[in-house]
């Protein structure tokens, strides 16, 4: 996986990264690659938004306060995507942080495009 990642990242632009993972964008393929929890997974526009929705709706506070002895593992499965994540609570927090940063950067990228290259004078 490391070899694949190194080779692949040459063609990618890093969108956002934390200690736990990194999100890359491939302009040529029009998609994103998320390097997280030991794997590099490809997401297109629709599946990236579905991943965001799945992660954002996890009630972290409720999981923290949960005193039952159930395992703190959440399965994140995205329809139309061949991968799924099995994440513990800390990983969910880390992935959420990674996605929040990613979407902030994508929004910033859109603002820059609007201001710099989509100016209509």
């Amino acid at each position: 996986m490391t070899g694949v990642k190194t080779k692949a990242t040459d063609r990618f632009t890093e969108v956002f990264g934390t200690k736990a993972g990194t999100v890359y964008q491939s302009d040529r393929e029009g998609c994103w690659y998320i390097d997280f929890a030991g794997k590099l997974v490809k997401f297109d526009y629709r599946t990236l938004l579905l991943l965001k929705k799945s992660i954002y709706r996890v009630d972290i506070e409720q999981l923290l306060l949960d005193s039952s002895k159930s395992p703190e593992i959440e399965m994140v499965f995205i329809c139309a995507c061949n991968h799924c994540y099995f994440l513990n609570l800390l990983q969910i927090i880390a992935l959420k942080e990674l996605l929040e940063g990613t979407f902030a950067m994508l929004e910033l990228n859109q603002i820059l495009h609007d201001r710099l290259s989509r100016m209509v004078i």
Partner: protein, 179 residues
């Protein structure tokens, strides 16, 4: 770095969410009018029943118009769950009071979406909403006029029978209707 988000979809996440909420509201209105048509029919108010059947169809058309717009712009249109539809009414008048309340709420909801569009300068969606704004003028007018029949005609004697006969004749055709 390409702006893939914008290339794929014209709508922002916030506007897409608001439009999906509106799709749900229109679906709810359509189901509500259908329940009203049923109640009126069961209680012998045939003309009002026809009026509400027609209204239900119109709301469904509004829902689909919004639904297709979201898809056309590259967004994710969500087929809504509709539940909690009121099936029973205490009086004939209550049906029309609820209808007007619902239309006022729908107008308010469109105003909120338009305000959000203005705020983020989504003039494309703002222009699309104009059709609905105009439609709401007619919807509110008809609902208000129908309720006013209860004052003008009165419910005593054969009043409700008269009201029922007139409901289906309400038309928004004043000078401002086409403007």
């Amino acid at each position: 770095m390409k702006d893939i988000m914008r290339i794929k979809c014209l709508l922002s996440a916030d506007i897409e969410m608001l439009l999906n909420q509106q799709i749900k509201k229109e679906a709810h209105s359509s189901a509500m009018y259908l329940a009203m048509a049923s109640w009126c029919n069961q209680n012998g108010f045939d003309y009002s029943s026809d009026y509400f059947f027609k209204q239900s169809g119109e709301e469904r058309e509004h829902q689909l118009k919004l639904f297709k717009y979201v898809l056309d712009m590259g967004g994710r249109a969500i087929s809504p769950d509709v539940n909690g539809i009121k099936q029973e009414y205490t009086t004939f008048r209550e049906v029309f009071e609820d209808a007007l309340d619902a239309e006022v709420a729908i107008t308010q909801s469109f105003k909120n979406i338009a305000a959000a569009c203005m705020k983020e300068q989504d003039f494309v969606t703002f222009e699309f909403l104009n059709w609905f704004m105009k439609e709401q003028r007619e919807e509110e007018y008809k609902a208000r006029r129908a309720l006013e029949l209860f004052e003008v005609i009165g419910e005593e004697g054969t009043g409700r029978w008269e009201i029922d006969k007139h409901v289906n004749k309400i038309k928004y055709d004043s000078e401002t209707a086409g403007a």
